[in-house]
């Protein structure tokens, strides 16, 4: 059953990383881009405010970084758990 426990530990770690990334994903788009926009409207970005920037540009840039961070993080996790290809 050791194999099974190791696989479970790997999967739990993956799911935890996904939760962290999804929280950031939601924060920049639904958060700063839409729901929290009034709260951060004091921060001006070139003729508009931070929320507008996140909605039209910032969220996309964060998404890109997020995927590469996830990919790198998972490569490390794969190696640590000995499940890399």
């Amino acid at each position: 059953m050791n194999d099974k426990q190791a696989a479970n530990a790997y999967w739990r770690a993956n799911v935890r990383i996904i939760w962290i990334c999804m929280a950031i994903w939601a924060l920049v788009s639904y958060g700063f881009g839409i729901l929290l926009r009034p709260l951060v409207s004091g921060i001006k970005v070139g003729g508009s405010d931070l929320g507008f920037w996140f909605a039209q540009q910032g969220s996309i840039l964060v998404f890109i970084v997020l995927i590469f961070v996830y990919a790198a993080w998972m490569n490390k996790l794969d190696r640590d758990h000995g499940v890399e290809e």
Binding site: N14, I34, G46, G47, L66, E85
Partner: protein, 602 residues
């Protein structure tokens, strides 16, 4: 050289390139036809995915969609990119590890059920056929505009081109053609954008120009745009005017819909390793972002350009500091030649309603404010520029900015590349579902490799014919790609795939009833407001915000459909037996990357 010859040369050269690639990379086996033998480099696959994903709508219409609504339509920008985060983390790596050829095949194996697989095929076909009609129409319209043929002829030419390279090349040929098409379309999109940004903001990068300052007035660009559009009686560009609930739900529907689109998912079957599937989604988003971060700049700048063309005073000072553009100027001035060109297509229309020789563009529904005062003072009888199509914002840009003829020609080639690359990806998904899931999976499991490859090619040929005929006579649902295709992908395919990976407990019955519940609830909600099967007049409730349940727009309902799918699947699974041991082992094996290479040779 005249414009027609230039268009012909650029479009012809791009087609020759696609044919050349198809002959060089033609598919010789089913593994090559369905999954390019899993030998595509992740960066290459990212580029191909970007072309696969960015359709005629992304290329031609999206900037205009944002331009005329402003901030509220940021939903498209976030929704159509955020889905890749979901793909990278929730679906792509595990489906790559599964190592088969189609999306319904995973559904069938994971839920050990032919019924589940067939339901998957039905969803896939509705989604992909709806989507492909729009692409074929886009091809027809682009041909008609740039090569002076009828829309019908254009459609048949487009169909012949796709037939030649997709049937021959399969996934392998289409992948490398899509890479070439991405390069053509991104160049075509970027060049006019850089020029318009330089002209309005002196900023080389449109992404920076959008948040930079406006040259004529010295104000910040977005402040200037807000000022001009509100002067004209429209809502402020950067402000939130619509329903917050729908903005959230629509963005989410687009995100999970994107992640559930079969033609996008199968692209990730082509990379060599599980880790490549993750990084490849990142590369896809990099290449998509090159267009998606330019689009809002193109849209807003083109809108300011249009406004200052109609009100020349607005370019440097107060909006109404000079009279509106005169009818005589529009009909004779060389720099307004583009207005005459586009009027011929019906995408732009003006009319001097009050006969004062000037064309006043404003929002005639505004009852107070500067626009209403101006209208009263000048004795206007209504907006004199009643038609400005969204599509003009991209297509007319090179002419508005007075760019040389070859830029116009490359925009034409770019529009065709966007439509053709997406059409080819969709046709691959359709033919795979027919030949692999229906013929091999259900009708004739003993079919030989060679016969299956032939079946795949024949089903693709038939799909092209069907798509072309539907493109010639678009049924009502063709205009509803966003509601129908994304709604179904979100409510049926995305949840079943995610549960198949993240839950060992969801079983056959749960998956089947979940998919049916998600699909039916979404279809019924859309049909209630848009008409049964989109036949005009058969809608049971008028499609207005007051009638929507909890104010949820039909296009946003995919999220609710997805929630229904998840709920039904968990409840039904809980009430029935656990999946068999070999299925639970399958789930465990797709969760770890190790052994993906072996899965190729099943």
């Amino acid at each position: 050289m005249d414009q027609f010859t230039l268009n012909l040369i650029f479009i012809g050269a791009s087609f020759a390139l696609y044919f050349g690639i198809a002959i060089w990379a033609r598919a010789g086996s089913t593994a090559e036809f369905y999954a390019a033998n899993r030998g595509v480099h992740p960066v290459m696959n990212g580029m191909a995915t970007a072309a696969d994903w960015m359709s005629a709508a992304s290329f031609i219409s999206m900037a205009g969609l944002i331009a005329f609504t402003g901030y509220d339509n940021s939903t498209y920008l976030m929704g159509w990119t955020g889905g890749y985060v979901l793909l990278a983390m929730l679906l792509a790596p595990y489906l790559r590890k599964f190592g088969k050829f189609t999306v319904p095949e995973f559904i069938g194996d994971r839920f050990y059920s032919k019924t589940a697989r067939i339901i998957g095929v039905i969803c896939l076909l509705i989604i992909s056929i709806t989507y492909v009609i729009g692409q074929m129409e886009g091809v027809g319209i682009t041909f008609a505009r740039y090569l002076e043929v009828s829309k019908e002829t254009g459609l048949w030419i487009g169909a012949a081109v796709v037939f030649a390279y997709a049937v021959l090349g399969g996934m392998k040929g289409v992948t490398y053609t899509q890479v070439a098409q991405y390069i053509v379309l991104i160049i075509a999109y970027t060049i006019p954008a850089v020029f318009i940004s330089l002209a309005l903001t002196s900023n080389f990068l449109p992404q920076l120009g959008l948040f930079g300052s406006h040259d004529g007035s010295g104000m910040e660009f977005l402040t200037k745009l807000d000022q001009v559009v509100t002067d004209l009686g429209f809502k402020a560009y950067t402000e939130h005017n619509g329903s917050t609930l729908n903005m959230v739900l629509f963005t989410l529907a687009l995100m999970i819909g994107t992640a559930g689109l079969p033609h996008v998912i199968i692209r990730f079957f082509t990379v060599p390793k599980v880790s490549d599937a993750r990084s490849s989604a990142g590369w896809a988003l990099v290449f998509i972002a090159l267009l998606y971060t330019v689009a809002p700049a193109v849209g807003s700048m083109a809108r300011l350009n249009l406004s200052t063309t109609m009100w020349p005073g607005a370019a440097t000072g107060e909006t109404y500091s000079q009279p509106a553009v005169s009818l005589a100027d529009i009909e004779t001035k060389p720099e307004l030649n583009w207005m005459r060109t586009w009027a011929k297509t019906g995408l732009l229309k003006w009319e001097d309603l009050n006969g004062d020789g000037l064309i006043q563009y404003y929002n005639d529904k505004a009852t107070e404010g500067p626009a209403a005062e101006m209208a009263a003072a000048q004795g206007l009888k209504g907006n004199e520029l009643p038609t400005v199509s969204n599509d003009i914002m991209v297509l007319a840009n090179p002419e508005i900015a007075n760019l040389p003829g070859w830029v116009i020609a490359i925009v034409a080639a770019g529009g065709l590349a966007a439509a053709l690359s997406t059409a080819a990806g969709l046709l691959l998904a359709i033919s795979g579902a027919v030949s692999h899931d229906l013929i091999k999976g259900a009708i004739n499991p003993g079919i030989s490799e060679k016969s299956e490859l032939l079946a795949a090619r024949i089903s693709m040929g038939v799909s092209i014919l069907v798509a072309t005929l539907l493109g010639l006579n678009p049924p009502g649902f063709a205009a509803q790609t966003v509601a129908l295709a994304f709604g179904l992908a979100a409510s049926s395919i995305f949840p079943v795939l995610m549960m198949g990976i993240f839950s060992k407990r969801v079983n056959k019955q749960g998956a089947i009833w979940g998919m049916i519940a998600g699909m039916i609830s979404t279809l019924v909600y859309i049909f209630t407001y848009k008409g049964w099967f989109f036949i005009a007049g058969t809608n049971m409730l008028e499609d207005t915000a007051a009638n929507w349940i909890f104010g949820i727009a039909p296009a946003s309902f995919g999220v609710v459909g997805a929630a229904i799918n998840f709920a039904v699947a968990y409840i039904v699974s809980g009430a029935t037996e656990e999946p068999p041991a070999h299925v639970q082992e399958l789930v465990e094996s797709i969760r770890v990357p190790k052994g993906a290479g072996a899965a190729t040779h099943h």
